[in-house]
């Protein structure tokens, strides 16, 4: 131990040169979004219309709300496959409440609380018992939707009060729907939470190295538990929206949403291995998926064929930077 060097200012992030901003993931997504938007405008005369574009947002806002919380969960190295099943269970519980004569405020409270409860259940199993989240949530996915099937069978709940319809069908101002407003507000909140608070830094720390995070004094279990609760909460909110929009509940409601939500998150540049990602990317990915499905819908492309485009988009957008990096490395070495 000789003389210690003078303390030097260590930036908590590297300076971003202009070129790296151009080649960032978000820039790539913006380019993709603009390209799809342009193609859509040329392909269909009905696309560039305020009401068309407003309808477009209904395609993704419910899933995107969940994707915001799922992004944090995946960054922390966990995953939740049960979100669609939570929607089904929360919707079923709201349906039961309607049969019992509950009013709109009670319905909303039930939807959100059931979602929160389901998320907490997942979180307890993962953090208290130390189980792998992918298996736990495959199990709870069957369990939650299974309960909806036990309650409903092949029946459906209808007869939601007319004031309840506002959440999924109402407009705040002109063509701006309540769903879109809620999504944008939630996006800002989640952006702030992930990128501007110590909680967000801890989420990244856990995702990069849970053991090191634990030794640095981060309460890994508690933060993961909170993230599972948040994901459940967002699924509960999505359940209120989708139930309100459809005006009925079947046990098969929102089937397959979990994979679309995860696709959205991964497309948004969140590493499935944890530790990296941004809310801006997820929001952009949500809009891209909405643009693709809506644009193809205007061209009368069936939904199942659209899913090919989403699947290809997912793989290509992930593969391109890898190939690009490899080509560049080979050229310079």
């Amino acid at each position: 131990m000789t003389d210690t060097p003078a303390p030097r200012h260590i930036p908590d992030r590297l300076d971003k040169p202009f070129t790296s901003a151009i080649f960032s993931w978000e820039a790539l997504l913006v380019a993709v979004a603009v390209a799809i938007f342009a193609v859509n405008s040329f392909a269909s005369p009905y696309f560039l219309d305020a009401w068309s574009l407003s309808d477009l947002t209904f395609n993704f806002t419910e899933k995107a709300l969940i994707a915001l919380a799922m992004a944090l969960l995946i960054i922390s190295g966990e995953i939740d496959l049960s979100v669609a099943a939570i929607i089904a269970l929360a919707s079923t519980m709201m349906g039961m409440a309607v049969q019992a004569g509950a009013g709109t405020p009670v319905l909303v409270a039930i939807g959100i609380l059931v979602g929160l409860g389901c998320g907490a259940f997942n979180g307890l199993l993962v953090t208290r018992l130390g189980l792998p989240s992918i298996v736990v949530t495959i199990g709870t996915m069957s369990l939650f939707r299974g309960i909806a099937f036990i309650v409903l069978g092949d029946q459906a709940y209808k007869g939601y009060p007319s004031s309840f319809a506002f959440f999924g069908q109402g407009y705040v101002w002109w063509v701006v729907s309540f769903e879109l407003t809620l999504f944008l507000v939630a996006a800002v909140i989640y952006w702030f939470l992930l990128h501007r608070t110590s909680f967000g830094r801890r989420v990244f720390a856990i995702g990069n190295n849970p053991v090191a995070a634990q030794f640095s004094g981060v309460r890994v279990g508690r933060i993961k538990f909170i993230l599972f609760c948040l994901t459940g909460l967002m699924a509960g909110i999505a359940s209120v929206l989708i139930t309100s929009r459809l005006g009925s509940t079947r046990p098969s409601i929102a089937q397959g949403y979990e994979l679309e939500v995860i696709t959205m998150v991964v497309l948004g540049g969140v590493s499935i291995l944890g530790g990296a990602g941004s809310i801006v990317g997820v929001v952009l990915a949500a809009f891209i998926m909405g643009l693709v499905t809506f644009g193809l819908g205007l061209l009368n492309v069936p939904g199942i064929v659209m899913s090919i485009f989403i699947g290809l988009l997912l793989i290509i957008v992930i593969a391109l930077p890898i190939i690009w990096r490899r080509v560049r490395r080979e050229r310079f070495t």
């Binding site: 736990v136 199990g139 046990p251 699947g311």
Partner: protein, 325 residues
């Protein structure tokens, strides 16, 4: 270690016997040999699929596209059969295996060469393969009356009193048993799951082995494409929708660790049988089939809680395949 593994399967077997016993109390005919043979036959396809998924999970990967592969390949062979009934069935089975192999190889290639996490690759191909089924069929169904009698009849023919479908399952189980316990590839698969870094130093080509396991799961998916279509005699875009999670559920119940490296052929078979018994038993003991989903969900959670005792540390690094790269 080996004794411990055996221990786990013995427990699962005991649970299955107990389950059959409980069901027999409500419905005595359930445990009759004829009925158990029927249950085995009903579960054959799930068992075969679970074995294909098992080799993938053992290498710390996952194949979510198996059910879509099954759907696509099933549609291909059904359309071939409807258009050219003269094609012999064994040739159709070979075609099914090849188509499945190609679909699996696409997954494997992306995982191997581009190093994309398998869950992302197969999440993408899950939707692509099912969408492709729609494209080749134009959304149309292939119905029973368009299929040739041989196409439908082969797996129903009895050999030594047991349907051919069950024999195929037995053959596949035997092949997987040999693969996992008697070949270098089988040892490599376990080694990669237990410690990918050490496997590299031991001279195992991790990427190539992963490519091979995806080819295996693809071929299995293709084979089951034919078996599924000829069993339920309808080919549509909706075939086996969401079934990928049942396959994984069978593996989890069978004690195969999602963190890789732990699991056996016997476990996968018993896990599938457990689910098969539940779905067969519910109607005969007068429980609404709508209960099945919740029951298998509870079984998965219970199984993973019990299995986790010996592998808690590994369970925590489930998605951390980065160190394998």
């Amino acid at each position: 270690m080996k004794a411990f593994l055996k221990y786990r399967e013995v427990w699962l077997l005991a649970a299955i016997v107990l389950l059959i016993g409980l069901i027999s109390m409500r419905f005595p005919g359930f445990a009759a040999p004829g009925n158990l043979r029927q249950v085995f036959n009903d579960t054959s396809i799930l068992m075969i699929l679970a074995l294909g998924q098992m080799v993938v999970i053992l290498t710390r990967s996952i194949d979510l596209s198996m059910a879509s592969n099954l759907c696509f390949t099933g549609m291909v062979v059904a359309m071939l059969n409807a258009a050219h009934p003269a094609i012999p069935i064994p040739l159709l089975i070979v075609i099914a295996l090849l188509v499945g192999l190609v679909l699996g190889a696409i997954n494997g290639f992306l995982v191997w060469r581009l190093n994309i996490p398998s869950i992302v690759v197969t999440l993408g191909t899950l939707t692509i393969y099912r969408g492709a089924t729609f494209v080749i069929s134009g959304g149309a169904w292939v119905n029973a009356d368009q299929m040739s009698p041989d196409f439908i009849g082969l797996q129903r023919a009895a050999f030594l009193g047991i349907p051919v479908l069950s024999w195929i399952a037995i053959l596949v189980i035997a092949l997987f048993f040999l693969l996992m316990t008697r070949t270098a590839l089988g040892r490599s698969i376990y080694a990669i799951g237990v410690n990918p870094t050490a496997s590299v130093y031991a001279g195992i080509d991790v990427g190539r082995t992963k490519f091979i396991v995806f080819c295996i799961s693809g071929m299995v998916g293709g084979l089951c494409g034919y078996l599924w279509i000829s069993r339920y005699v309808i080919a549509s875009v909706e075939v086996a929708n969401g079934y990928e999670l049942n396959i994984i559920a069978a593996c989890v119940i069978g004690g195969i660790s999602i963190a890789g490296g732990i699991g056996s052929v016997g476990g996968a078979v018993l896990g599938a049988l457990f689910l098969g018994i539940i779905s067969n038993a519910l109607p005969v003991i007068n429980i609404s089939p709508f209960w099945q989903m919740a029951i298998s969900g509870s079984a998965i959670i219970l199984a993973v809680v019990l299995n986790a005792r010996g592998e808690r540390r590994q369970g925590r690094i489930i998605l951390k395949k980065a160190e394998a790269a």
